[in-house]
Structures are given as C-alpha cells and as structure tokens.
C-alpha cells in the first residue's frame, strides 16, 4: 500500500513539476507549482514527518506562492503568453545540445551511485516528529540554525532598505 502510494505521489509530483515548465500561461504554472508542493508534503507524511509537511504547506503553498501569484496577476503576464513566444532555431539547437549533454553527465554520475539504505532495526520512526526535530535543531545544529536566522534578518533589513523612501522621492 505504502509503496503504491509512493509511486503514485512521485509520478504526480514529476507530472506537475513538468507542467510548471510546459504550461503556456504563467498563472497555470504557479498553480501547478502549488500542487507540486502539496505532493512533496505528501512525501513528508509518508516519511512520518508531519511537522515538515505542515510547515511546507504553510510557508510555501500558503505564503510564498500567494506572493508569486500576486506578482504575476499584477504584471498581467498572461496577455503576452497567449500569442506564443517565438524561439529562434539557434537557441532550439543550443537547448537540445545542452540538455543532451546534461542527460549524459547525469547518467554517468548516477551509474555507480549506492543508495544509502536504512537499517530497520535501528531506524527511529519518530525522528520526524516535532519534539525530536526541535531537539536536534537546538542541540546538534544550533549554530547553523542561528546563522540561518541571521541570514533572514539580513534579508529583511535589505528589503526594508530597498523599500524605504529616499529623501526627495515621491511615490504618490
């Protein structure tokens, strides 16, 4: 059952991720990206990490993608895309060659990969629960965790700095 669910979710994830790129309409792209986030949350639930699943939906699907949709609606990108974007033959050839090369490199790299399995006897199924996650974050990985928060602070200060009204500038 779980295995079937995994393959169903994975194929859905890949399909939606592809549709993000293929869709002509940017709003459709964003909506497919939101479905992709949901399927990734489904993967987290399969791994028994409910906290990560919920936070993934709250942060990505609930906040960041709303802003994406917001900006796309404001810019009204849908109008231009309906006519179809012309791609020159040269960039088509370049794209094919680059994509093919990447494909070959990926196959070469993945050929000898060993998947790090897990030992069912020592594996802790509760590892994704919020208590365990909090303990790990605040003991073992305290420094990276705090540094990440400093990074967020810097980003916030930068955003305020950019959005601030300069002397003599008038918006309205």
């Amino acid at each position: 059952m779980t295995e079937n669910l995994f393959y169903f979710l994975t194929s859905l994830t890949l399909l939606c991720a592809l549709m993000v790129v293929i869709s002509k309409n940017p709003v459709h792209s964003v909506l497919f990206l939101i479905i992709t986030f949901f399927t990734i949350s489904g993967h987290y639930i399969l791994l028994n990490a409910q906290f990560l699943a919920a936070v993934n939906i709250i942060v990505y699907a609930g906040a960041i993608m709303v802003l994406f949709l917001f900006v796309i609606m404001f810019l009204n990108l849908g109008k231009g895309a309906e006519k179809g974007v012309k791609t020159s033959t040269l960039s088509k050839i370049a794209g094919t060659v680059a994509g093919g090369l990447l494909f070959t490199v990926m196959i070469a790299a993945l050929k000898d990969v060993e998947i790090a399995g897990y030992n069912p006897e020592t594996y802790n199924s509760q590892i994704g629960m919020v208590e365990n996650l909090g303990k790990v974050l605040f003991t073992e990985y305290l420094l990276p965790f705090e540094l990440a928060s400093v990074l967020f602070l810097v980003a916030m200060v930068g955003a305020v700095m950019l959005g601030k009204r300069e002397t003599g500038e008038q918006h309205f």
Binding site: V27, L31, Q50, A54, I57, I58, A61, V66, M73, V130
Partner: protein, 355 residues
Amino acid sequence: MESVDLIYKAIYILAIFGVTLLIATYSTYFERKIAAFIQDRVGPNRAGPLGLLQPLADAGKLFFKEDFIPAKSNKALFIIGPGIAMLVAAMSSAVIPFGDTLIIGGHEIFLQAIEVNIGVLYIFGVVSLGVYGLMIGGWASNNKFSLLGAIRAASQNISYELAMGLSLIAVLMLSGSLSLRVIAEQQAGFNWNIWYQPLGFLIFLICAFAETNRTPFDLPESEAELIGGYHTEYGSMKLGMYLFAEYINIFVASAVMATLYFGAYNFPFMLELETWLVDATESAITANNIVTLIGTAVMFAKIFLFIFFFMWVRWTLPRFRYDQLMKLGWQILIPLAILNILLTGGGILLKDYLF
C-alpha cells in the same frame, strides 16, 4: 485500525460535515435576523414560521439562476475558484475536538475526526490556503474590480497571518503541545487559556476577522468601491459557494477560538458534576457520557456565541480604510504579538522561579 473504528470515523466525519453545513446555512438566516434586530427591523419572516425556511428558499433561488460564465474569462479557473474556497473552508473542522470521550459498548470514542500531533499547524495551513479560492476566482473573472478585490484579499490575509501565528505561539508555549486534543484537555474545568492569554486572544480575534474577510476588514468585497470585489462576475450557485464558504470560515474560526482560548468542551464544576453523577447513577460510564454530552453542548454554545459576536461586529462597526488596515496589521498587531510572547515567556520563567 479496526473496521469498527473506521466506520465510526466515517460516520463522525460525515456528521461533522453535515453540522458544519447546517450551521453555515442557518448563519445566513441569523445574520439577517440580527441585522434586522440591530437596525430595528423585522428581517426575513415570509418563508415558514419566523422565516425559518428562508435559507432553503435562498439556496433554491441560487440553484435555479442562470449559471453565467463571462466570455473572456479563464473558464476552468473560473469554475475551480469557488470550489477551492468551499473545499478549503470545509476541511479545517476535521481536527477540532467537539467533545471528550464517549464510551459506547466498551469502545472509547473521542469526539474528534482526526487526531494529529500538529493540529494547530493543520488549521493554520488550511487557513493560509483559503486565499487561493478568492485569488483564482478574482483573476479568472478577467475584470479589473475582481482582480483588485483578489489582490486586496491576498495582501490582507498574508499580513494578518503573521500576527495570528505569533499570537498562537504564546498559547503553544503555555500548553507545550501542537495537538488540539491536548490543549483542550489542559483547560479542564475553569482553567481556560483566556485567563493567561487575554492579549493573545484579542490579537487572534482581530486576525480571525481579517482572515474571514468580515467587517471591519471586508475590503476585498467592499461594494462601495469594488462593486462586489472578487465575486463581481459570479452568479448562481458559484456566488452562493463563495458566500457559503465565508460562513463556514466563521464557524471554524469560532470553533478554533473556543478550543484554544475558551476551554473547548470544558465547563466550570465539570469534575464535581461527574463525581456527583457517579454517586447518583452508580455507573462511571453513564456519568462520563452525560458529562461528555453536556461538554459538547457547551462547546457549541461557545461557538454560537462567537458567531453572534462576528455578526454583532458586522452591523456595528464601519469598514477600515486600506492604509489603516495595513498599519494595524504590521505596525500594531505584530509588535503586540511579539510583546505577548515575551510576557508569556517571562511569566512561565517567573512561575518556575517562585514555585
């Protein structure tokens, strides 16, 4: 999971779904009756005794109206929009504990559809998705006023989600758990969270008004400037679904407030009542079941009180201006919520130090 449990869960989920829809239906009736009472009118009184069949008449009217789709709209998204609004609204009542355990035939039945250890985050996640219904519908209508309404809804919801999340953190610090069942159990008797979190509750209440797009925060559909806001182009039952989703959201917001701050199904002297009932009926199971049923009734009474409060505010206060709304959210509520977190943390430390 045993098949008996599975069947019980299925029945319970259907029952909660039905109750949610019923309460949302009659919210429309009481909204109009309360509006009439506040404005010194009679209100709906034609369909049935006291106008009680008015919601059915409204629904019938909406179903039989022409289902109109504007020519230059995005057809698929135009139809999906109200569907998402309705789906997301109906999803969130799943984790709310409407009562304590019932014991029937040796089976312990907890009156909650699904118990997850991240119940609060589930509610928060579902609420944050609610805005998609409005945004998709507003954009797909291909109408400037709809788009403006959708954009207003999106920015308003994102702004007030922050303050809402921060006010929830103070509750989580007190309870030490994300599970709504645990939070409800901790407030046994009269030990409600509101006594410890008055400021947090006030912030949560204001944010709940903003998240459900109710007056004084109903700018996404302010008819004076935007015709109808995001549902300008909608008619028939699609419009009905948008309006209905709003009432379901009010019900869920009331239930969440009752659970988090007003003791869920707990009521004063419930332990004394249970010991007295055990003596009176000489059966612990009957006593437990009676107390649980009273608790469920108390929970619904609290929910109805909050729904009434939502309506009372709607017909009392005027609407905010948009810059005032943003200023309230970002410059007043968020700093207050952070102050509330600091105060709560200080209070918890002080209690550890003194006792």
